[in-house]
Amino acid sequence: MGLNPYLFDIANIRNQCSWVHQKEPEKATEKAKELVKMSVARVRELTPLFMKEIPVNRDVVIMGGGITGLRCGIDLLMRGFKVRIIEKNDAAGGLVHDLSSIYPSFRPGKEVIDELVEEFTKRNGEIITSAELVDVTGYVGNFEVKLNVKGSEREFLVGAIVLATGSQLYNPGERFGYGRFPNVITNMELEKRIRANDIKDVQSVVFVQCVGSRGDDGNPGCSRYCCQAAIKEAIHLREQGIDVTILNRGVRVYSKGAERMYRKARELGVLFLPYEGEPEITGTGRAEQITVPSADLDAEISIPVDLIILSVGMVPAEDSLRLSELFKVPRGPDKFFLERHSKFGPVETTVEGVFLCGCCQFPQDIGDSISQASAVASKVAALLSRDKITLAPITSAVDEVYCRGCGRCAEVCEFHAIEIIEKEKGIYVAQVNEALCKGCGTCVAACPTGAIDLKHFMSEQIKAQLEALFG
């Protein structure tokens, strides 16, 4: 038993006084005295706090049956967890399913997906297709998921949720001659043509990169797959003797082996040209020539062309807003789901027990997505391998007398730990879910009345420190 740890405070004399004021011993001593005084004043106001434990359900649900979700699911199945994948379409596979080949192995997408689905099923994972998420309630270790599967309801309890809902490709609308010229197509359409072996009478192909990426409408950031995909496709075309040009805004090849692929493409004579703005596409009935200004030559560079490929960026999936509301997972300025912290919680979300992997977080290529999928599987396993989850007691607490139920605390809480409930008719009050509360105290700052306070960092405790300092 012993002393409650929350009755303890450190007057940080060593790091924040003696070491940093080595040359001023007298002043440092005075400061140390004051730091002790402040600490004593704070300790006087402290109250004992106790850890709480909550039971954990060991099942996992993965939203999305693309390559990321499948990989994550298999990893979790291998660790002995029960895993369900929820897929909105009538079959698993996502975007990868439709790819002619994936780098660096150059295997057809469908082949890879089929293999993963087979393994997932063999290990007794369940893929629920044509399923729509209706509602999610609860908190870490105890989520309740409600589905609508082809008209009928399904409900189950899970301990953790993995969002692997992916992204969708930018629709160029009428830009870059898309829709106007039959021979201007997107890279996904090219993939289909390559699969169907439908590239005929083509001498020159020009790729336009960054369509719907990096501030060009769509995704404000780099879509991270398109340079490498275009290079992969370019190599394929070049090997058939086709002249290939890739109009780019800086080639970005960061995947494993991609630099080598980029070099190979150049070796084969693929022309990489920088461009800015929108290239001029001309032709009668079909695109015949594409022209870009050259920053270096004071010239306009034209390329005779038979097929133009728009490498379209990745944008958040259509239902990402709805899912973000249902899961209470915030979205970043780019509208992709936001991780809890880029360094300390890169696959976690603000909602404990809800994890992110793949392109629903930010655009990335297959290799990165599946690395993340495996990372998430490890995180989930670490979480769910415990019988109980311990909750730190530094959480916000509401004094219902002073609570006006105005909801400003709930509004600022990034962790959705505060709910405004109707105590009696017309009387609302804030309620803190201690399992969700992370203990930042931002709600305290937002509260107009002082009804909500952060345990262990109560206003009175902080004011006591100030008063001791100046008293």
Binding site: S204, D243, T245, V251, R263, R266, E267, L268, G269, L271, F272, L273, P274, P293, S294, D296, L297, D298, A299, E300, I301, S302, I303, P304
Partner: protein, 172 residues
């Protein structure tokens, strides 16, 4: 002034590819490391190895191997080769371009003067009687005989072997 119009010529690039070292031009990703170390670029704006490589990538035959091409300003110092992170060997590309210019007969007149000696005498410097006299004065042995016959044989044109040689001439 209306901007110059450049139409990418993939065929010229293929021609360049066939000259030893010419193929490496494909690797250039225009980073400018070569320009930073190029002594010629330091002393004149007319010469810029990156721009030469860009023109090679665009297949700008006339600009590269027409009359007054800047490629002849290269000092042959190999700094670009040393520095290039992509093994473009810019100087070798430039020399390959020079080979093409020689084929097209657009090389500067003094190039022939500076190099014809070798094919004819086996030496780049003219062998004269004064040379042997000077050597004698210094106590050096007389010059060895130069195997001119062998040299002439190995320098004979062989069209079957070297597709890049003169047969281009009739083309536009």
């Amino acid at each position: 002034m209306p901007k110059e119009k450049v139409v990418v010529d993939f065929r010229f690039r293929e021609k360049l590819n066939k000259i030893t070292g010419g193929k490496h031009h494909n690797y250039c990703y225009q980073c400018s490391a070569c320009v930073a170390v190029c002594p010629a670029a330091r002393f004149t704006d007319e010469f810029n190895p990156r721009i030469i490589l860009l023109k090679a990538l665009l297949g700008m035959e006339e600009a590269l191997i027409g009359e007054d091409s800047p490629i002849w300003l290269c000092t042959n110092c190999y700094s670009c080769y040393e520095r290039c992170p992509q093994d473009v060997r810019p100087i070798e590309v430039i020399i390959a371009l020079k080979n093409l210019a020689v084929e097209r007969e657009t090389a500067p007149a003094n190039l022939a003067k500076l190099s014809e000696n070798i094919a004819e005498t086996g030496m780049s410097v003219t062998v004269s009687s004064a040379v042997n006299r000077r050597r004698q004065e210094l106590g050096l042995p007389p010059l060895k005989t130069i195997p001119l016959e062998e040299l002439k044989k190995i320098l004979e044109e062989d069209e079957a072997e070297e597709p890049s040689s003169k047969k281009r001439k009739g083309e536009p």
